[in-house]
């Protein structure tokens, strides 16, 4: 096990724990840069991973750090996407301005909703955001002068300062850059008073208030920052899918974002990225399994003769081609994660790291939750 020897308080303010950790992240960054050479066929999927990473980051700030669960984040993605496309294509303004306006408008709308909605707590807030998302989806449908309504709106390839990002490789790097920017900004906030105030609201509102945290202001700020990130993700997302239609920004997408942060691991930025990889790559995995599974699993029956193999193949083939399979698997995984690993993929990752760093002294009880009785008489 490695111990970090600390000689100054400034060491605790760095983005990385120590040079070793920094080098690991540098290596990861170089690996990401090398991906277009290694897996050129998957570049569009990887761009989606990065965009989802931004979405995960956005919801992680809100749900994972401030403790406010939103079921309406697809609406902010939509606001970002439509604003960006409208500003760039219909008004002819520069691409980067479209992105900034997407973030600002998304944040502004969230504040408009947030001011009344944040007076609610827990599940009531979640329901309010759900209702808000449905309203916004209706606005996308009805306001066809701007959004193109149900006919949809085609999106051009991004051109920034005269440089075209039409190629998959170029767009991949663009998304990677924005994800890294998002991660940097968010971790800056989290090591500042703002981030501490958010975490305090999540853990104990009453204590946060007694320490001088203005609950309404910081909740609104978290909501606005989260929506702003979602707006940026929306601008990139519009280029990724190439065609905007209101039904893309459905409640189902919001649920997928929530799944992302829960499966990834609430309360860590790693979790947002892990979750994004998981949610964006799972459909790819499923579609590949569709082709491979029937052939693979019917082989062992070869000893029973050809007709048996064919029969098993047909049954499996019909099963994997069922249309509802994907949401079903998503749901199953969500249930399993909540049951067996409440801290998500990040939790598993942390345990694995600890296991190897203190080998052979790891004991299971390290992460077992202790029951606490002292919080019974909560105020309000």
């Amino acid at each position: 096990m490695r111990f970090v020897f600390k000689t100054s308080y400034a060491q605790d303010l760095g983005l990385f724990r120590d040079p070793v950790q920094r080098n690991w992240y540098a290596g990861l960054f170089l690996a990401a840069l090398g991906l277009p050479l290694l897996v050129p066929a998957y570049l569009p999927d990887l761009s989606l991973v990065f965009i989802y990473g931004l979405c995960g980051l956005s919801l992680m700030v809100l749900a994972g750090y401030t403790g406010l669960v939103s079921l309406g984040h697809a609406a902010f993605l939509g606001i970002g996407a439509y604003t960006h496309v409208y500003v760039v294509q219909d008004l002819g303004l520069p691409w980067i301005l479209g992105l900034v306006l997407a973030a600002l408008l998304s944040a502004a709308v969230s504040m408009l909703v947030g001011v009344p909605a944040l007076r609610m707590t827990g599940v009531y807030l979640t329901i309010a955001t759900l209702a808000f998302a449905l309203i916004i989806q209706e606005v996308f449908t009805q306001w066809d002068r701007v959004t193109g309504g149900l006919k949809g709106k085609p999106v051009d390839k991004p051109v920034i300062f005269g440089i075209s990002f039409a190629k998959d490789t170029a767009f991949f790097f663009l998304c990677l850059a924005f994800l890294i920017l998002g991660l940097w900004l968010t971790s800056n906030l989290l090591r500042s008073p703002t981030g501490r105030a958010w975490v305090s609201i999540r853990d104990s509102e009453i204590a946060a208030q007694s320490m001088g945290v203005n609950l309404a202001a910081y909740k609104t700020l978290a909501f606005a920052y989260s929506a702003g990130l979602m707006g940026v993700a929306g601008a990139l997302f519009s280029h990724k899918i190439g065609f905007l239609a209101p039904d893309i920004f459905s409640v189902l997408l919001s649920i997928q974002f929530l799944l992302m942060v829960v499966v990834g691991g609430l309360g860590s930025l790693h979790g947002a990225v892990f979750g994004a990889v998981f949610v964006a790559m799972l459909p790819v995995g499923i579609s590949q399994a569709r082709d491979a599974v029937p052939a693979l699993f019917s082989q062992p029956f070869a000893v029973l003769g050809k007709p048996v193999v064919n029969a098993v193949f047909l049954v499996l083939d019909r099963f994997v081609k069922q249309p509802g399979l994907e949401p079903g698997i998503f749901g199953l995984i969500l249930v399993l994660v909540i049951l067996f690993e409440p801290l998500g993929i990040y939790g598993r990752w942390a345990k694995l790291k600890l296991y190897f760093s203190i080998f052979p002294l790891y004991k299971r009880a390290t992460f077992r939750r202790q029951r606490a009785y002292m919080r019974s008489e909560r105020l309000r």
Binding site: Y9, N188, S200, A208, S210, V213, L215, M374
Partner: protein, 252 residues
């Protein structure tokens, strides 16, 4: 000058009058204790001072300012910090992070500066850290600096909560049953710390407490309550011997 004064505090919860016309004054630099049987309204008075509850009648004055209508999060900015009877720490954060949140009232950096973590923010963060470290030294919390609260024993959590309140650099410290759930030794330690807070840091302490040994050891003046009404004020000894107080505790 009035340092702190509660004047005719009343609060009704439905038909129950939990605090019924409580008036007392705390002078700067003293340790003032509120005692009373269960349900006497001691913690409710604290929650009124923290502005978690709105009083039905009465006035609160702090440093010559009427704080009866001040929003709850502003109370800490005025210089009143508190602890809770059932510890309210941020459980999934380290001791250090808890203490740094105690520095929230001294926040000088703006959101946009923090977003890009300007050198100014870094310098301010270092200053907050220095201040938190002073409190860590004062209360001997060095071994627990980087432990998560969930992993700490109850007695240490009590101290951490007091440390977090001290990080706000308050003028008035409200301690809600500092010794509840502590062992005899830990309670003795708590008495020393309360004396040190008053003598070395010059912070006025207003506390609610049941443990009479702690009350007698540290309090300058004691107020006894029963059913939300004050029944006696004076030194610990005077109050303990007051016939009304004996009656309230033992019946008769």
């Amino acid at each position: 000058m009035t340092f702190f004064k509660a004047d005719g505090l009343v609060i009704n919860f439905g038909g129950i009058r939990a605090v019924d016309g409580v008036t007392f004054e705390v002078d700067a630099g003293e340790v003032f204790t509120i005692i009373g049987p269960n349900g006497a309204g001691k913690t409710t008075i604290f929650n009124l001072i923290s502005r978690i509850y709105d009083p039905s009648a009465g006035r609160l004055t702090f440093c010559d300012e009427d704080i009866t209508q001040v929003p709850p999060h502003e109370i800490a900015h005025r210089g009143i910090a508190r602890t809770f009877q059932n510890i309210e720490l941020f459980e999934h954060a380290t001791v250090l992070q808890n203490l740094l949140l105690g520095r929230h009232t001294h926040r000088r950096s703006r959101f946009v500066e923090e977003l890009v973590f300007l050198p100014r923010v870094r310098a301010l963060e270092l200053a907050h850290r220095e201040a938190a470290e002073k409190v860590i030294d004062f209360l001997d919390l060095q071994p627990y600096r980087d432990s998560l609260i969930v992993n700490l024993p109850y007695g240490v959590r009590k101290v951490v909560e007091m440390a977090r309140a001290l990080c706000t650099e308050p003028k008035l410290l409200l301690l809600d049953e500092p010794s509840s759930g502590l062992s005899v030794e830990e309670t003795e330690g708590m008495a020393f710390w309360i004396q040190d807070i008053r003598n070395l840091l010059g912070i006025t302490v207003l506390m609610v407490e049941h443990d009479m040994s702690l009350v007698s050891a540290v309090s300058d003046r004691v107020l006894a309550l029963n059913y939300g009404r004050p029944i006696a004020v004076g030194t610990a000894r005077e109050v303990q011997e007051h016939p009304e107080v004996v009656k309230a505790y033992l019946g008769g």
